[in-house]
């Protein structure tokens, strides 16, 4: 019974899913043990939550780029929306909900919802079109969000929220608090994000994405990607199907952003610029389009690499770039890919052979 269950977990259909979950859970357990025994350096500790955030955003982007086949160049914009929503929600609720865990979860959900709503709004016109229009529009979206938040002043006191644009005209009552201060962004945020919630968020993201792509809607999404005309001919609504993937991608970025925003006491709107969007896209492309395990691994490695190379001083960004190129070449090498495939096959065969005997 148990054996059956385990072998089912590792069969063709569920293998990738199981490996992803196991990878995250094992990494979490190891890091928890290291942190409780004091074996974890401050450097690694400070990287735990950001790695979780970027991983969730990258998983979302991979759903959009890898499975839906639509290029999104504004994932950082959605993260930004989620981050500042999360910070504002957490700041407003600070006095009424004292439990930080509950507040964090509410902030993450709020961030995800607002980002999803934004995704829906820009998805309506764009996803009806054929071609790479989504890339252009999301690129613009990221810029618009950045300059909107750069000019937004938002304060909170006992009379409620006060907002002004471009110039700071917000005057607050006693005990009031500025949530957003234009180009300064959010300062004095309570840092309530935890690594455990980050890992749970990754597992949630994986569950959502895997359940989606192995469902009927998921097959429709891939059908639209591979042949739009064929998909339309069998009655699939292409725009709606792509919208589903896009909204889920945006909401995952929003949730990741909320967690990210609540991990730092200060956050400037300029953090989520075009470069951050590209960074997330690099994680996805290096991890492999449609490969969630790869995305998790590549995000972790590429986040850790520049920090671990600090001892090389001036040369560290140079070497980072070279490593990036080398990984690109190696992972896309046909020769190595066939070797790896053969190795995998022989491993599976060996297992089956052992079982039969």
């Amino acid at each position: 019974m148990m054996k059956n269950f385990i072998s089912k977990l590792f069969d063709q259909k569920l293998r990738s899913r199981t490996i992803s979950y196991l990878l995250v859970i094992i990494a979490f357990i190891i890091l928890q043990i290291m942190s409780s025994t004091g074996g974890l350096s401050s450097l690694l500790k400070s990287l735990l939550v950001p790695v979780c955030c970027y991983t969730v955003a990258a998983i979302g982007l991979n759903l959009n780029v890898g499975f839906s086949g639509e290029l999104n160049l504004g994932q950082a914009g959605f993260m930004s929306v989620g981050a500042f929503t999360g910070i504002c929600v957490s700041g407003v609720l600070a006095s009424s909900i004292t439990n930080p865990l509950l507040r964090l979860i509410i902030a993450i959900v709020a961030g995800a919802l607002i980002a999803a709503a934004m995704g829906y709004i820009i998805g309506i016109p764009v996803l009806k079109l054929q071609g790479d229009y989504l890339a252009i529009v999301t690129l613009a979206f990221g810029q618009i969000i950045k300059s909107l938040i750069t000019n937004m002043y938002l304060g909170f006191d006992e009379n409620g929220l006060h907002m002004s644009f471009v110039e700071n005209k917000v005057s607050l009552g006693a005990g009031g608090k500025m949530l957003l201060q234009g180009p300064m962004g959010a300062t004095g945020t309570q840092r309530i994000a935890t690594f455990t919630i980050g890992v749970i968020l990754i597992l949630c993201a994986l569950t959502i994405v895997y359940n989606l792509i192995y469902s009927k809607s998921g097959r429709a999404i891939m059908g639209c990607r591979d042949n739009r005309i064929a998909a339309e001919s069998i009655g699939i609504n292409v725009a709606n199907t792509k919208m589903l993937a896009f909204i889920i991608s945006a909401s995952l970025a929003g949730a990741a952003g909320a967690l990210y925003g609540l991990n730092y006491s200060t956050l400037v709107p300029n953090k989520f610029d075009f470069n951050t969007s590209i960074l997330i896209l690099v994680f996805v492309v290096l991890g492999g389009l449609g490969n969630m395990t790869g995305t998790i691994i590549s995000t972790t490695i590429l986040m850790l690499l520049p920090e671990l190379l600090r001892s090389l001083q001036d040369y560290r960004m140079l070497i980072y770039a070279v490593v990036l190129i080398v990984i690109m070449l190696v992972t896309n090498n046909a020769f190595l890919q066939t070797k790896a495939a053969k190795l995998r096959e022989s491993l599976i065969k060996g297992k089956k052979g052992a079982k039969q005997s």
Partner: protein, 440 residues
């Protein structure tokens, strides 16, 4: 030692040899990248690159090991020297500021170590002016056993790491992080100061009120004042707010206030014409030197010659490429540091900086130089020893900083409030014959 140029050459060669054929297709909405590689070339190029890097790495190690300030040369020195940490932008857009601070820190630490009373070991990390990177840089510093710190060079990274310094109770003084958020947990209400985070520079609001008071005291510069500020920049609008408030209080005559944003920072003819029509004979520019250079050029073009007065953001006007420095003649600047001050300390610092790095130190460098000396003075007066715990050291340093007076290159008899704000006399400099000269 192999320089970066050689390295870049090797990298180019490697990459060039990889690509015999490169397809980057974007058809059928799938991102595909096919690369055909020539293995012999790959091996050759790879070896060359590997060799270059090994040599470069060795070179950089041996090159910097001669200086006592290298972050790598830790070892057994931990018992005899204080570990002084800090981070700043050594790469990226704000690298000018980070490099200036790092250079000045190296000079100051070498001097203090040579004097013998207090020994420092400097560990300065790159944060690329990014709060996220600053937090990881803080992790690195902590792992390396930092005992006290010069916090960060720029404001928003400083605001991100200040709560961490507070949590771990490590003393920190920033040379140039001028935002209130660096020393207050709740900057908008000016409450909840960290207590262990100090500033060597003026806060942004202080510059505004100090400018207003200076202009009141020096009515000969001009009495009808126009202000042109950048509304979407925190530094500029922060100074403008307090300048206006202070001006109202002490009765300065502000005849015109104009603003611009990042997108409209190329044409100032409207603001200048309005200022001229309002009869302003002094224009206050609480902005950075880039737009200021354009304002000076355009005012000159339309024959408008009021006195221009700015804050420390104008520092850098003279080194701007493609700017006719003759236009900057007679520009006043409120800054705590002037490189031509006649006292020995300033002259010694400026000379050393020029000899080592080939340029005149700016205000950021001077503030950083003072940070090291102020910490050294506090440690010496408090009889601190490097084997003390960080808690003990922080206690001593906070007690010393809030009670001592310090004379440095950026001002005489500075004192610090318990909130971490510095009190020092603002100094005005004026540009004469292409150099800064102390006004007064």
């Amino acid at each position: 030692m192999v320089d970066e140029k050689t390295c870049m050459y090797c990298v180019e060669k490697v990459i060039g040899s990889f690509y015999n054929e490169r397809n980057f297709t974007f058809c059928n909405q799938k991102l595909e990248m096919r690369v055909e590689m020539n293995y012999r070339n790959l091996l050759k190029g790879g070896l060359a690159a590997a060799m270059a890097f090994t040599m470069a790495a060795c070179g950089s190690n041996s090159g910097s090991a001669s200086g006592s300030t290298d972050s790598q040369s830790s070892g057994d020195a931990g018992k005899t020297a204080f570990k002084l940490g800090g981070s700043g932008p050594l790469t990226g857009g704000a690298a000018v500021y980070g490099t200036a601070v790092y250079n000045a820190l190296k000079i100051a630490v070498d001097e203090v170590n040579a004097a013998g009373d207090v020994q420092f070991e400097l560990d300065f990390q790159d944060d690329a002016h990014d709060p996220e990177k600053a937090v990881t840089a803080y992790g690195v510093l902590k792992d390396n056993g930092m005992q006290m710190s010069v916090l960060t060079v720029t404001s928003s990274p400083g605001a991100a790491v200040a709560p961490l310094y507070d949590e771990d109770n490590i003393f920190a003084i920033t040379p140039s992080g001028s935002s209130l958020a660096v020393i207050y947990a709740d900057a908008s209400n000016k409450t909840g100061s960290y207590g262990n985070c100090f500033q060597m520079c003026f806060t942004d609001p202080n510059q505004g009120s100090a400018s207003a008071i200076y202009l009141k005291d020096h009515a000969d510069l001009g009495t009808k004042i126009a202000v042109i500020f950048k509304s979407d920049d925190n530094y500029s609008s922060g100074i403008n707010d307090t300048f206006q408030a202070e001006a109202k209080e002490i009765g300065l005559d502000i005849v015109y206030t104009g603003s611009f944003t990042e997108d409209s920072s190329t044409d100032f003819s409207v603001q200048l014409t309005q200022a001229k029509d309002a009869g302003a004979d002094l224009v206050f520019l609480p902005i950075y030197y880039d737009p200021a250079s354009l304002i000076l050029t355009q005012a000159n073009g339309m024959g408008y010659a009021p006195t221009f007065f700015g804050c420390d953001g104008l520092d850098g006007l003279l080194t701007l490429e493609g700017f006719d420095t003759a236009l900057a003649e007679g520009v006043y600047m409120l800054t705590p540091f002037s490189a031509d001050a006649p006292d020995d300390r300033t002259q010694n610092f400026v000379k050393k900086y020029k000899d080592l790095y080939g340029e005149t130190p700016n205000q950021f460098a001077a503030d950083a130089y003072d940070c090291v000396y102020a910490i050294a003075q506090a440690l010496k007066n408090g009889n601190a020893t490097p084997d003390m715990s960080t808690d003990e050291l922080t206690d001593i340093l906070v007690k010393q900083f809030t009670s001592m007076t310090y004379d440095g290159v950026t001002g005489e008899s500075m004192t610090w409030a318990e909130t971490g704000e510095v009190t020092k006399a603002p100094m005005a400099v004026v540009i004469k014959d292409g150099v800064y000269v102390g006004a007064e």
